[in-house]
């Protein structure tokens, strides 16, 4: 903002005064200020640069703020002045953009680029090199010789097989478009248009003083082609100068120029013959690629399938009777013991979704030791826990028969537990009947339990750690009993 007013009381007063002046509260004083403001500013300017210097930063700041706020406003104000410059710049930029975009686009997505990539892969040459070589392929399809002043067509030549709409009208429109571009973009300063992009065609233009030579080119012609056009045009102008200025509207006067124009119909034939062969290879490559993908897919599926069938086949409680692998859906049928593990985790871990494999099971009783163990576990446990080793009154010597029965049941439960991978502990608890003193009974109960535990310790896989003395049994039982504990 403007230089700050001097500080202090004095400054504040002046500030208030100024505010009063600039933003008067009543209409009358507003009126007064309005009247004096313009002449005051005017005379101040005439006196010297003071006010100017004061206002300069204010205006600058305001301008900047306003630009920041609405850039469009300023652009609008400036456009007439810089318009020509911008237009010229844009026309050039558009031209360059069109060139590069067209080239890039062609390379990125066209079938031709696929061909190039294929060729690069086949020959081992870098892709860029191939592109460069191929980009130079071009074909001049048409040449127009146009009378410059009238836009009338003097002569038109094409390569064989090129379909042309009315060349007279193309010639006229080309001239009109050229005028338009020149006026609106080149600023009308005599700078002439050299190339026009029409779809994937490029029109190269060369201007003489009486005629224009326009070549319609497919692909990208080398820069030297410009020289060919220039020399041809110069020759024609030299030869027919008298007929072209003034031009009487009869194109037959330049009919002798035909061969010269035909010589401009250049190009590399490679463009037509090559792709047919290469395209065939592309299809072959695509087919091979497709087959490879399919085969890979199939092989991958085969491994998944083998994993699934192998796993279910070796899973206890399963007997597979039918396995069928289709392209998408697979099915497995068989027998399954209700105590077997569910099949879903096997399907999932093989990498299939549940809906990809249909499973049909009929129940059966499996004799697989692991399933048998599952089936037998509860009964055997119950059996052991119902077993009692008997004793004579006041004796800690176990009854032979009942001890043997207990030992055999312990072996059964151990075997079963081993099948199921369980960690077991067997609690051995002794008891005594109501006769005799309590102290004696206490001792007797422990002695009985210990005696049984010792007798069992040698049995099968039972180790001493797996036997623990349990709590004393309720009074009135001259026995030793067992409790099976499963440990995690």
């Amino acid at each position: 903002m403007s230089p700050a007013p001097p500080g202090g009381q004095d400054g504040d007063d002046r500030l208030r005064e100024l505010r009063e002046l600039l933003a008067p509260t009543d209409d009358e004083s507003r009126e007064r200020v309005a009247k004096v403001l313009a002449p005051a500013v005017q005379s101040n300017f005439e006196r010297g640069p003071d006010l100017h210097r004061t206002l300069k930063p204010v205006i600058r700041e305001t301008l900047l703020t306003s630009i920041k706020h609405d850039p469009g406003l300023v652009v609008e104000a400036m456009l007439p002045a810089i318009g020509t410059l911008i237009r010229r710049y844009i026309s050039q930029a558009i031209q360059e953009l069109a060139d590069s975009v067209n080239l890039a686009q062609e390379q990125a997505i066209s079938l031709r680029s696929l061909e190039w990539r294929w060729e690069a892969w086949r020959t081992g040459k870098p892709f860029g090199e191939i592109v460069l070589a191929k980009s130079l392929l071009y074909k001049v399809e048409q040449v127009f010789l146009i009378h410059r002043e009238t836009g009338l067509l003097l002569m038109h030549r094409t390569t064989a097989g090129v379909v042309v709409r009315d060349a007279d009208m193309v010639s006229g429109m080309l001239t009109a478009i050229e005028d338009f571009v020149q006026d609106s973009f080149a600023g009308g300063d005599g700078h002439e248009l050299d190339t026009i992009q029409v779809g994937d065609l490029r029109v190269w233009l060369r201007h003489g003083s009486h005629a224009v030579l326009a070549a319609v080119i497919h692909g990208v012609a080398p820069p030297q082609f410009g020289g060919v056009l220039e020399r041809t045009l110069a020759g024609i102008e030299e030869q027919y100068r008298g007929h072209l200025s003034p031009y009487r509207g009869d194109p037959s006067v330049v009919s002798g120029a035909g061969p010269a124009l035909d010589r401009c119909l250049l190009g590399q034939a490679a463009m037509q013959t090559r792709p047919a062969r290469v395209r065939w290879r592309i299809w072959a490559a695509a087919a091979v690629a497709t087959l490879t993908v399919l085969a890979a897919f199939r092989i991958h599926d085969y491994w998944k399938w083998r994993q699934l069938v192998g796993r279910l086949g070796s899973e206890p409680g399963y007997a597979l009777t039918l396995v069928r692998r289709g392209w998408i859906h697979h099915s497995i049928e068989g027998l399954r013991d209700p105590l077997a593990d569910p099949p879903a985790p096997a399907v999932e871990s093989a990498g299939y979704r549940p809906d990809q494999v249909s499973l049909v099971w009929r129940p059966f009783v499996s004799l697989d030791p692991r399933i048998v163990a599952r089936r037998e576990w509860q009964p055997r446990k119950r059996l052991l826990e119902e077993t009692a080793v008997l004793f004579e009154t006041d004796s800690a010597v176990p009854d032979r028969a009942t001890l043997d029965a207990a030992a055999s049941r312990v072996r059964d439960i151990l075997e079963c537990g081993a099948q199921l991978g369980k960690q077991l502990r067997i609690h051995v608890s002794g008891g005594a009947d109501g006769t005799g003193t309590e102290a004696r009974n206490e001792v007797l109960a422990r002695q009985r339990a210990t005696a049984v535990a010792e007798a069992l310790a040698g049995q099968g896989t039972l180790t001493p750690e797996m036997l623990v003395l349990g709590p004393r049994l309720a009074v009135g039982s001259r026995t030793v009993r067992f409790k099976v504990e499963e440990r995690q």
Binding site: G172, M173, A176, G249
Partner: protein
């Protein structure tokens, strides 16, 4: 075959484009007119001097904001000036454009079409005005792009007057 460039000039909405459409089968889209400001059409006519190809340039304009770009008349062998009979001032515009174009194209043959003859009831251009123009040497046609009245005749007469002698 002889070829001639002809320019169509006149006030905005006088009916230039409609007259062309009546006269030839266009190859280019109307869009060219709005973007490029010119549309070129072609018509082959037979004249007393033999067949002649007219390349007809329809120039966009003229209203207050976009004047006709008369540089486009360069090399013209003939001019077609079009006015709207319903708007008298378009006749002044047509006459003025004709004399301005002479500076670029030279004193080439020209005809004046007063168009929308099918709306004669609403015409502002009077019979007296038309007679006056005829007396001062104008070749003048009352045309209608809508009915086609006098359109072929007008172009034919222009073509005839642009014979080999009048390049």
């Amino acid at each position: 075959m002889i070829q001639r460039k002809v320019c169509l000039l006149g006030a905005y909405a006088a009916g230039k484009t409609s007259l062309i459409r009546r006269f030839v089968d266009s190859m280019f889209d109307d869009r060219y007119l709005t973007t490029v400001g010119v549309r070129v059409d072609k018509k082959v006519l037979s004249t007393p001097h033999g067949e002649m190809t007219l390349m007809i340039w329809d120039l966009a304009g003229e209203d207050d904001s976009t004047p006709v770009d008369l540089r486009r008349c360069r090399g013209s062998s003939g001019l077609v000036l079009v006015a709207d009979g319903c708007r008298a001032h378009t006749l002044d515009t047509a006459v003025r454009l004709g004399s301005d174009a002479s500076k670029v194209a030279g004193e080439v043959p020209r005809i004046l079409m007063i168009n929308k003859a099918d709306l004669k009831d609403e015409w502002e251009v009077t019979a007296g005005r038309i007679d006056g123009l005829r007396r001062t040497g104008w070749t003048l046609y009352l045309t209608s792009a809508k009915s086609g009245e006098n359109v072929e005749e007008a172009f034919a007469s222009l073509a005839a007057s642009m014979g080999p002698a009048n390049v």
